[in-house]
């Protein structure tokens, strides 16, 4: 069953198409990689799928809800980890989650469960401004999981983290997907996408230029690499961002 259904989704800003008629589906329990260079339209797509931005045209359903007409019903069913560690720094970790629990109308017991899930129980009473990058990231993940969403949007969840924390977060992502949560992942780490994602879409200048399993992508381009399977990074460089290297600008 598809948890995310996107059909010809388009968003224009002052006549420029940031996202250009993209279509794809994501199954329940799937980790879906959404890869592209900076400015390709990843964040705009996430903002539309999470109800922060209205599409110019096209449609999408997330967790069975239309992102425009059923946005209020959709919001409690999604969790979002942004590409920045946006937490309330003057509050403790527990208070950050308690506040989120009140917004999502979830039981206070979930706060402790979420803190335990990300290994922050011992730091629950500390003000978050004293937290390291890794602790902050674990806290924003705990906040996104607090209400047990059906779909989790992760925007570069391991960026700038040390390898230990990044590995823990990747393990958690796999564990959540195994439990049936749908994960929509953007990352600049191609190895991470290769390791985690069942399917990967490459986005370039607002358009999906390729969508397949990592193995499928590699097999499709093997012949152009002298018979050797290319890495996802090779394909990312080949398929996207030509304008960043001096080609035509969007």
């Amino acid at each position: 069953m598809d948890t995310i259904v996107v059909d010809s989704l388009t968003r224009e800003f002052d006549g420029t198409r940031a996202v250009d008629q993209i279509s794809f589906t994501v199954e329940a329990g799937e980790i879906f990689g959404f890869l592209g260079p900076n400015g390709a339209g990843k964040s705009t797509t996430i903002r539309m799928l999470t109800g922060q931005l209205r599409p110019t045209s096209g449609s999408a359903q997330v967790a069975g809800c239309d992102i425009v007409s059923q946005r209020d019903q959709m919001k409690p069913q999604i969790g979002v980890v942004f590409d920045c560690q946006n937490i309330y720094e003057r509050m403790t970790a527990r208070d950050n989650l308690r506040f989120a629990a009140r917004l999502y109308r979830v039981n206070g017991q979930r706060v402790d469960e979420a803190l335990e899930l990300v290994g922050l129980t011992d730091s629950a009473k500390k003000r978050t401004k004293t937290f390291s990058n890794g602790m902050r990231q674990r806290l924003v993940i705990a906040r996104a999981l607090l209400h047990q969403p059906k779909v989790l949007f992760l925007d570069e969840p391991t960026r700038g983290l040390d390898p230990h924390i990044a590995r823990d977060i990747r393990s958690l992502i796999v564990q959540l997907a195994e439990q049936g949560m749908t994960i929509f992942l953007t990352t600049h780490y191609m190895e991470e996408a290769d390791q985690l994602c069942r399917r990967v879409a490459f986005l370039d200048r607002g358009r999906i230029v390729a969508l397949d399993t990592p193995a499928g992508h590699k097999a499709a381009h093997q012949s152009t690499y002298g018979g050797e399977a290319p890495t996802l990074e090779d394909l990312f460089v080949k398929l996207t961002g030509s304008y960043l290297r001096g080609g035509e600008r969007m």
Partner: protein, 362 residues
């Protein structure tokens, strides 16, 4: 998790969750806490500087001598170092008018013992309305003072002679009304836009916008936090100036109008400015337009056209509404006109806010 469609109370609960978070946050955020503490300090200072304090030994007494027999110095220094400054009034009306802004009025009545030269003297005393709770204490105090000054037993009888300023009186009589409005406006100004800007700068606004909270609930939450602190500021003002109030209804109405306008206006400002720097730039015209006129609109020598112009400002209108609660009567037309002015400005600010929300939703 409960995934039923939220009802009115659930919506209110979300707004309250945001509001209560901000109420606590104001006390943790150096900028907002400093603004709050400064305002409270300023209110106490304004009260201290415009009111008679227990330790004041410089008392102002207006004297209307109907007999024309008592003449003396315009300044009397008592044994304990206290000083009475005597002001002469030409009529009973002037005595009453002046007493509203002084400490005591004395009416030396023709045909009393002062003319007969007997040892006992009865003076009719007048007190300003804000000292009416202390009439008995003042009678005793001033009887002692005047007995000492005149060298024979004197009884100052105040009775019901309490001088309440008329609603159209000019001067400093209504300064407490301005102080209360100022507390509400300043707290709204110094807290509400900061709360909105900080959410945007730290990108926690994105967290709110993907949560079940709507843009309206976020704004309502900020408004609740602003209202909480505006109520605290107004409460402190009301406590300080308790004795000045002759009718609480206009004071309450004035507070509601001040709070409604200030908070909606500041929410709109918070939605327009993108950072603290822009807010500091916006602060200057806001203060110049909204606060400065409330300082001088009661100035007796103000040009009529300027008084009429500043009377159209919502902050001046709100001050006037509160001021009616300190006066001897409530002019219904004036009350309704000033309520209409503040509500019209509140509605205009709400329209700006509404369009900001609509635009943010696209």
């Amino acid at each position: 998790m409960n995934r039923e469609k939220p009802g009115f109370l659930d919506n209110l609960a979300i707004a309250w969750a945001i509001g209560s978070k901000d109420i606590a946050d104001v006390l943790k955020f150096k900028t907002t806490l400093t603004n709050f503490v400064l305002l409270i300090g300023l209110l106490v200072f304004l009260y201290w500087s415009t009111s008679v304090r227990p330790w004041d030994h410089d008392l102002q007494v207006v004297v209307y001598d109907e007999t024309g027999l008592v003449s003396g110095p315009d300044r009397i220094t008592l044994d304990d170092g206290s000083e009475l400054r005597l002001y002469s009034a030409a009529s009973l009306e002037e005595l009453k008018q002046e007493t509203a802004n002084r400490d005591l009025g004395i009416h030396i009545v023709a045909g009393t013992e002062v003319e007969s030269g007997t040892s006992s003297l009865l003076l009719a005393g007048y007190v300003p309305w804000y000292r009416r709770a202390k009439v008995a204490e003042l009678e005793t105090q001033f009887s002692g003072v005047f007995s000492g000054v005149l060298g024979r037993p004197v009884q100052v009888a105040i009775g019901g002679n309490i001088v309440v300023p008329s609603a159209d009186a000019l001067g400093n009589a209504f300064a407490p009304a301005f102080h209360l409005m100022f507390a509400v406006f300043w707290l709204a100004f110094s807290l509400v836009p900061h709360l909105m800007i900080e959410e945007r700068e730290n990108k926690t606004m994105d967290v709110l916008m993907v949560s079940p909270a709507s843009a309206g609930q976020v704004i309502l939450g900020k408004g609740i936090a602003g209202l909480f602190y505006a109520t605290v500021g107004a409460g402190i003002s009301a406590y300080l100036y308790w004795g000045y109030v002759t009718n609480w209804l206009p004071v309450l109405l004035g507070f509601v109008c001040s709070a409604a306008f200030s908070i909606v206006f500041m929410l709109a400002i918070g939605g327009m400015v993108t950072g603290q720097k822009q807010l500091m730039i916006a602060a200057q015209p806001i203060i110049f337009l909204m606060i400065v006129p409330t300082f001088f609109y009661q100035e007796p020598n103000l040009a009529q056209w300027l008084r009429q112009f500043v009377s159209l400002l919502p902050t001046v209108a709100a001050s006037k509404i509160i001021g009616y609660g300190l006066a001897d009567s409530i002019p219904v037309t004036g009350l309704l006109t000033n309520i209409a002015i503040t509500l019209a400005f509140t509605a205009a600010a709400y329209m700006v806010l509404f369009f900001q929300m609509r635009r943010a939703d696209r």
